[in-house]
């Protein structure tokens, strides 16, 4: 779906994206995780074709590197980090405008506008001006405007900034359902939890480089393993709990096991064990700070410092 080869982008003398190589397959939900200034937005702009790389190549779909797709659905849908909508216009006027720019007209346009408004639950506000919307509603419309042309690849640059938990969950649900429907999604965020919840694969960015990439489980195997892991009490997990006793301390509660690994053991050992028991990784709740700890481990600094 998307292939980046040694992509570098400089602003003057400053290197914002530094030799990133990355392949993202069709249907993936890829998380770009990194602190402020890591280069996430710049990377997304490169993928969206807004910048040309100083070196390396970007190719989206089966188009040659750097080419723009003529067919609308092959063009990535971009959800910019800022609210890229006209404040003075109504929700519907905004959507119609951006829909027309994507080549939608007439009934097709009207139909799609109605559909995306429904999807972000703003149908009742369609004739209100954007500057009467709350921040979260604006965010939702910001996302909706990128969906009009039913893109195969959706680029979301921090789409939940300033959104309350409830609206955030609504956005998550929507993205997950789009992803299930086959849309490839690239999602940039500062938040470990968001990335862990949504993404099938995560890339950790820092100073323009991709420090590590893989599934949450893969990434965690890189960590020295000293965090607490919880999992539910079921007949299937009972055998695992018994085996884990040799690797550390297992606390059993009526509904949950809590596993505290002894010093020096590695997370990979843990996951090898769970796999041998045929238990999916979703069963295990890693302590919240685990990805946080990984970032600290990789960069020597905390994510939001």
């Amino acid at each position: 779906m998307l292939s980046l080869k040694a992509v570098t982008k400089k602003y003057g003398g400053f290197t914002a994206v530094d030799g990133i190589t990355l392949d993202i397959g069709r249907g993936e939900f890829f998380g770009l995780l990194g602190p402020n200034g890591a280069g996430k937005s710049t990377l997304i702009s490169l993928i969206a074709g807004l910048h040309t790389p100083d070196s390396g190549s970007v190719s989206v779909g089966d188009a040659p590197p750097g080419a723009k797709h003529r067919n609308a659905c092959h063009r990535p849908g971009l959800v910019p980090q800022s609210i890229a909508l006209y404040e003075e216009l109504t929700a519907e006027q905004n959507l119609r405008f951006f829909g027309e720019l994507q080549g939608l007209y007439g009934t097709k346009l009207r139909y799609r506008v109605g559909e995306v408004l429904e999807a972000v639950q703003l149908t009742s506000r369609r004739n209100d001006r954007l500057n009467t919307f709350s921040g979260g509603m604006q965010r939702r419309l910001n996302l909706a405007a990128a969906l009009l042309h039913q893109p195969e690849l959706l680029l979301c640059d921090e789409p939940t900034a300033g959104v309350d938990p409830q609206a955030r969950n609504a956005i998550f649900d929507m993205l997950e359902s789009l992803n299930r429907g086959g849309t490839t999604i690239i999602y940039s965020t500062h938040y470990m939890e968001e990335a862990a919840r949504l993404c099938s694969r995560i890339g950790i960015m820092h100073h323009g480089r991709l420090l590590a990439g893989g599934t949450v489980a893969e990434l965690l195997t890189r960590l020295p393993f000293d965090e607490q892991i919880s999992f539910p009490v079921t007949p299937a997990t009972a055998a695992l709990a018994a085996q884990l006793a040799g690797l550390g301390k297992v606390i059993s509660e009526p509904e949950q096991y809590h596993f505290l690994p002894s010093a020096g053991s590695r997370l990979s050992t843990f996951f090898t064990l769970t796999e041998s028991h045929g238990l999916p990784p979703q069963l295990f709740t890693l302590q919240r700070s685990t990805l946080e700890a990984l970032f600290l481990h990789l960069t020597g600094r905390t994510l939001r410092e």
């Binding site: 702009s45 969206a48 074709g49 807004l50 910048h51 723009k68 003529r70 609308a72 063009r75 990535p76 849908g77 971009l78 910019p80 980090q81 800022s82 609210i83 890229a84 909508l85 006209y86 003075e88 216009l89 006027q93 405008f97 951006f98 027309e100 720019l101 994507q102 080549g103 007209y105 001006r129 405007a145 990128a146 042309h149 680029l155």
Partner: protein
């Protein structure tokens, strides 16, 4: 076809934003129309014959030169002045001064037989005055200058103004005199420059403000969204340009028709020639707005730079008072302003009754300026990555 549709979408968006902008409509149409009305009243453009006032002026002629008589005659004819030549004609200087002090007279012109020196051979001109009002003073001096020009052929011994062989300098001056003093064909002779002047100044303002929307759109990330679609950077610029032209043409025509309504300017009859001038002027002014936006880094700095330049250009270029009243060197500087050429076009069509051929140079200058300035702006936009 698709490209045209995209362009249309972009222009329609500008229109929707314009309609939503509370300040845009008054600034584009109402304020300039109001100023045109007020200044028209000040200059007595509405009904020059029955004007109640006029500036109270006395002319005292002690000279028997025909030129002096011509000057007084010209002063008397001018609707801007209320010339008392009756009982005051014989008054002594001191009596005149007293009248000025009492505010019953604003100026007094005393013509006496003078030495034969300078251009005004044979007539000595003295002006007593109380310059209490800048507009009155300005107007009075302009009228006086024209009156002197009216007497000029006699002074130089060239009574027939149509004769060949005179210097071009003089022919230019005399031409001005003919139009101003007789001015019989054109109703409201100075209405063309009052209306045209305010119109071009506000044209520059509204088009610059419309160009500065580039900064807001960029900051909001709107260009990122548009460019990630099928829109190109050139379409974005072209969309803005087309909208600017459209807004400019509508604005100019609205103000000129206001002038027709208020002062009886003949707009309908001159439309075939006026329209090309309006189109060229709108193009040049839109390009100016774009250039301003391309050399500044925020809407605020663009607006302050534009305000400064627009005021200077309007003052120098003749939007406020005719360039011909300014010193020679300023007249030369004026020629590098868009305002000057726009005013040349407007007054040429509406006042001097120029033909299509005669306004061609001014059209060429305006279109050439539009193209050159636009190219400079495009180059700057590209360098500053304005649309990324």
């Amino acid at each position: 076809m698709n490209r045209l549709r995209t362009l249309l979408t972009l222009v329609r968006k500008e229109f929707a934003l314009f309609r939503r902008d509370r300040a845009a409509l008054p600034l584009t149409f109402l304020i300039p129309a109001g100023l045109i009305f007020i200044f028209g009243e000040i200059f007595g453009l509405r009904n020059p014959d029955s004007a109640p006032g006029g500036i109270p002026v006395a002319a005292v002629n002690h000279s028997d030169q025909p030129a002096a008589a011509r000057i007084v005659e010209a002063l008397a004819k001018d609707p801007a002045l209320d010339l008392g030549t009756g009982e005051q004609t014989e008054s002594a200087d001191e009596a005149l001064r007293e009248l000025i002090r009492q505010n019953r007279l604003r100026f007094a012109v005393i013509l006496s037989p003078g030495e034969s020196s300078g251009v005004l051979r044979g007539v000595h001109l003295r002006v007593l005055g109380n310059p209490r009002n800048a507009v009155e003073t300005q107007t009075f001096h302009a009228v006086l200058q024209r009156a002197v020009l009216a007497g000029l052929p006699e002074l130089l011994g060239a009574p027939d103004a149509g004769d060949a062989g005179r210097s071009t300098f003089l022919s230019r001056l005399v031409k001005v005199e003919n139009e101003q003093v007789t001015g019989s064909e054109v109703k409201a002779p100075s209405a063309a420059s009052v209306v045209g002047g305010w119109a071009v100044m506000f044209l520059l303002f509204s088009l610059t403000i419309s160009s500065t929307s580039i900064f807001d759109e960029k900051k909001a990330g709107l260009y990122q969204r548009m460019l990630s679609g099928s829109v190109t950077r050139s379409q974005l610029v072209l969309g803005k340009f087309c909208w600017g032209m459209l807004l400019g043409i509508v604005q100019l025509l609205t103000l000129f028709f206001t002038g027709q309504f208020l002062f009886g300017l003949d707009i309908t009859g001159r439309l075939p020639l006026l329209l090309p001038v309006c189109i060229a002027a709108s193009a040049a002014c839109t390009a100016f707005g774009m250039l301003i936006a391309s050399v500044t880094s925020s809407a605020e700095s663009a607006r302050s730079l534009a305000t400064f330049l627009i005021l200077v250009m309007s003052a120098l270029g003749g939007a406020w008072f005719p360039v011909s009243l300014m010193p020679e060197f300023i007249q030369q500087i004026a020629k590098v302003t868009i305002v000057f050429w726009t005013m040349e076009g407007f007054t040429g069509v509406l006042w001097a009754g120029h033909s299509a051929r005669e306004i061609l140079p001014c059209l060429a200058v305006l279109s050439g300026t539009a193209i050159a300035v636009m190219l400079a702006a495009l180059w700057r936009f590209r360098r500053a990555r304005a649309f990324e």
